[in-house]
């Protein structure tokens, strides 16, 4: 740390030191960020793909539908880079018939937002499955909302989902039993699921009726128009 005793260091030298340090820092961060971005995105895509496979029960393939101008389209709308476009995933079985939609849901939990993936069958108005993607619920107490004992109750549940307190008799059919001691987290999950479906249901219904209309008009098979943007779910 050179500092000539008695003499004052000229300001430009101080500015130069900090400026050079800042430039080197910025360069290093940008380089590493750019180099690792594909890997981070691949990881995120992998998590999403796995969740879609789980809530739609391993579909043969799935398409991405983008929300643009209040309607769902099969092609990604042109947006500025970095804009997050809301989307749902439509799953198909081996014969090519649509099995349902996978939709991401977010809702405030006990500590932070809980992120879920919900599988929904609009024909039956029922859920196909539910998986928690991210939660910071109290470990040991409320993190059991992530566990299969709680989440598998959502499979086949009618929408809107009704939460029930645990009783000796057991729940009414179609109800989801909340976890004792984790009532807030259980409610948060149910609420997030219901809110998301309430919002997406009309959009999905409109998209489905649009598809039917095109099919009736003798157009090409509608699902050809929908580009497969996601490869089939990975099998573990």
């Amino acid at each position: 740390m050179p500092a000539p005793s008695g003499a004052v260091t000229p300001s430009w030298k101080l500015l130069l030191t900090l400026g050079a340090a800042g430039a080197a820092s910025g360069l290093a961060i940008v380089l590493v960020y750019t180099a690792t971005l594909p890997r981070v995105e691949a990881y995120e895509a992998g998590i999403t793909r796995e969740a879609i496979g789980e809530v739609l029960h391993a579909p043969a393939r799935s398409d991405t539908l983008w929300l643009s101008g209040g309607a769902l389209t099969a092609t990604r709308p042109v947006t500025e880079a970095g804009t997050v476009v809301e989307r749902v995933y439509r799953g198909y079985d081996a014969s090519g018939a649509a099995t349902g939609y996978a939709i991401e849901a977010v809702g405030p939990g006990f500590s932070e937002n809980i992120r879920l993936m919900v599988g929904y069958d609009p024909a039956k108005g029922a859920l196909l499955g539910m998986k928690v993607l991210e939660s910071k619920e109290t470990p040991g107490i409320a993190d059991s909302v992530v566990g299969p004992a709680f989440t598998r109750q959502f499979t086949g549940a009618a929408v809107p989902v009704v939460g029930a307190r645990p009783t000796p008799k057991g729940p009414e059919p179609g109800q989801v039993v909340m976890i004792t001691g984790a009532t807030i987290s259980s409610r948060a999950v149910i609420k997030a699921v219901n809110r998301t479906l309430e919002r997406w249901e009309p959009l999905l219904a409109r998209y489905e009726s649009g598809l039917r209309r095109t099919a009736a008009a003798g157009d090409a098979a509608p699902r050809v128009a929908a580009t497969a943007t996601l490869p089939p779910a990975r099998k573990n």
Binding site: M1, P2, L18, V32, T36, P139, G140
Partner: protein, 238 residues
Amino acid sequence: MRGVPPPEIPGRRRSTATEDLLRGIWKENPTLVMLLGMCPTMAITGSVRNSIAMGVTTAFVLILSSITVSTVRNVVRHEVRVATYILIIATYVQLADILTAALIPDAHKALGAFIPLIVGNCLLLGRQEAFSSRNTVWRSALDGIGMSAGFTLGLTTVGTIREILGGGTWLGIRVLPAAFEPWVIMKLPPGGFFGFGLVLLALAWYYDLKKRRAAVQAAIATVTAPARERAPALERAR
């Protein structure tokens, strides 16, 4: 601090390379002795896995910061040294954040907001001011390695207590019988204080015992010293 090597403190010799390396592990352990970096010690020691992940991440930042600060120590003007050091530390923290997200995403998710908070860990700026800014690159790297190892050791010790009592497992392996009802509080934030308190209690007890033993030895030596010439038998008995 003025571009000249620090003055020799009378009665204290310069440390050796081995001492620079080992200092942080036991004698001046950042967590257990100097009580630095308490934020991660409380926040992420709920499991051994997270403790190790935080220890390794901090090691990455500390070792590289020490090397960098030591490299530029003769270029950085005294007046802007703290700003420069913290910029160097912050850069490595940012890189650690990006790299953990890319390489160990699960650990990155678990550590969450605590990786950016490494910038505020006073262990880092403390070592730059106290050591790397006045020692060679090689010695600074050794100091960084030793301090990081000591920090990881401290975190893992607290993490071990918390994970075993709070979940009956160690590094995910069940060590207590399933019949053991986990003390959930040990996994929650208060468990950080309980766990760390227990570790400090054990250390204080150990040092107290050592001190008393030394005092007793000294007393025996004083009492027996004059007798030594008179009674060699007593000397043998001792």
